[in-house]
Symmetry: C2
Amino acid sequence: MKITIKDIAKKANVSTATVSKILNNKDERISKKTRERVLLIAKENNYIPNLMARSLVTRKTNTIGLVLPDITNPFFPELARGAEDKANKEGYMIMYCNTDDDAEKESSYLEMLAQKMVDGIILTQSANKEGNVESLNKLKIPLVLIDRDINVKNIKGKVLVDNFSGAYEAVDYLIKKEYKKIAYITGPLSTTTAIERLGGYTKALEDSGILINFELIFEGEYKAQWGIDGTNELLNSKVEFDAIFCGNDLIAVNAIRTLKEKGIHVPNDIAVLGYDNIFLSDMIDPPLTTVNQPAYKMGYEAVKLLIDVLDNNKEGKTIKLKTNLVIRKSV
Amino acid sequence: MKITIKDIAKKANVSTATVSKILNNKDERISKKTRERVLLIAKENNYIPNLMARSLVTRKTNTIGLVLPDITNPFFPELARGAEDKANKEGYMIMYCNTDDDAEKESSYLEMLAQKMVDGIILTQSANKEGNVESLNKLKIPLVLIDRDINVKNIKGKVLVDNFSGAYEAVDYLIKKEYKKIAYITGPLSTTTAIERLGGYTKALEDSGILINFELIFEGEYKAQWGIDGTNELLNSKVEFDAIFCGNDLIAVNAIRTLKEKGIHVPNDIAVLGYDNIFLSDMIDPPLTTVNQPAYKMGYEAVKLLIDVLDNNKEGKTIKLKTNLVIRKSV
DNA sequence: ATGAAAGCGCTAACAA
DNA sequence: TTGTTAGCGCTTTCAT
């Protein structure tokens, strides 16, 4: 049977209150003698505190919910890792959930997390629908948004990336390299990331006096398969193009692959530029030129921000991280 | 303020016991009238049950700890995803932890999970030291081992992969393809996976009457960097070789890269064969021939097995999954 | 320097 | 058909 503070109290001939205070270092005045005795007994009996019982009274679970679209997308493990490292450092644990960009799954998870009494939630809002804004508004748990922005009430902070300038810099680079007919295979335009990147794309073209051709823009998912399908759609559409800017690296990598399979050389025939800088982008041939997003840092900062709100009651702020263009060989 | 069953009871003019029974569907005999009234009040007031309070009495948290070396290694997101999908389906949540193959971090996490009263733990034992076997033995929580085997007392089940035959098949394939001097860049031989794969490697050579040359075996970590370093060590060692069998795909991918950078052609000059079949292996050039491990299934089965033990008190068994050779272009 | 007692929100016998 | 009561293991206020 598991040992409780009651057992310890009995063995040490003190009250449970005393044991609790000692175990939590809460009362300076308790004599060294009893303190040591109790501590010893606890150790000898391999005492494991029941955190649920504690949480029930302290109303603090020291756990954080991490809600992501899909850990299988290589952008997210980095982010999750950053989150976990900071959480661990601060004595928090993480419950992690995959939403598959499905609004229903998301709100079901959010509710479960609420029931588990997590202290806060870090959320990459699912791409789908508006439905869950409502359920988010109901949530009484401190929420930190990461990666994707959205307008909800009780947001305690945001960790975003400057997608506009990231895309702008990328497309501008393509233009500088003399590419004029730049296709854009984007992720779902229901996400702010995709919208902002589209903004950067169009602005860069405008600024260079290039007319925007909507036939060059293809909207799909942030998934590998869309890299293949999107490229094929583009190819079949018969519009002329000399470069592809991709919504993320997963798309870019598979665009390159599809192009190569058709005997189209990258970058000699077509240039390809990605977004994210997942580690894989450096391992393919040709190595992918891409926009680096600080995924690890995003996770890390999100947890930091959340804990600041939780423990120090700091007003939640918005952190906007910078991207930078990583030049390799695909352009 | 958050609403409790007490509040609901008051509003509905019934006892908390009745409310509890209704909310949990535990008592058939309660009249439809009160049942509906209570349910309505709960809904109207957006009642969220406090699972900690419940767990405290039921001694069941419906959460599972998932302890991995590093989610950043692309083998593990798949596994984690499989675990999460099954857990979600069964009404469990997952707390996830990265150990970095560090025994201390591992046992610290294990203890935290114990304190959180998780119902069970799924563990990929960290590569390091023997130190934590002891702390594992102390653990009173049902444990399911995944990927790496180890001898501990209260194991409730294992999900392993037949590493021996996986490696055997791979090396045998190399031999059939007329490669005779096969180097092996392996992960840490403190893991059972590496040991078993080494066994398969040597057996395959033996069976073909090829003498084992220990100068061709290089031990390091299951990490990308070791793919680079290991390949360089091999190259600098001046032993002759015509193929490299790699401890995992991360190593293999970087071996190929290193080889290519030196102007060595894969597979014409040197063949490279990997292990894991991470999605990345199909995206590089040349696409990697590798041993497929069913990572998703491993995670899925581990959770299934654990829940079977938990909910149905089934005796824990060992599941041994099969690998299969995926032939692509690097051999 | 220590203890008594109340209570966190819930469930589960058992009674009525 | 419903309610009473006693905890689950812990913290915390207030006495002593």
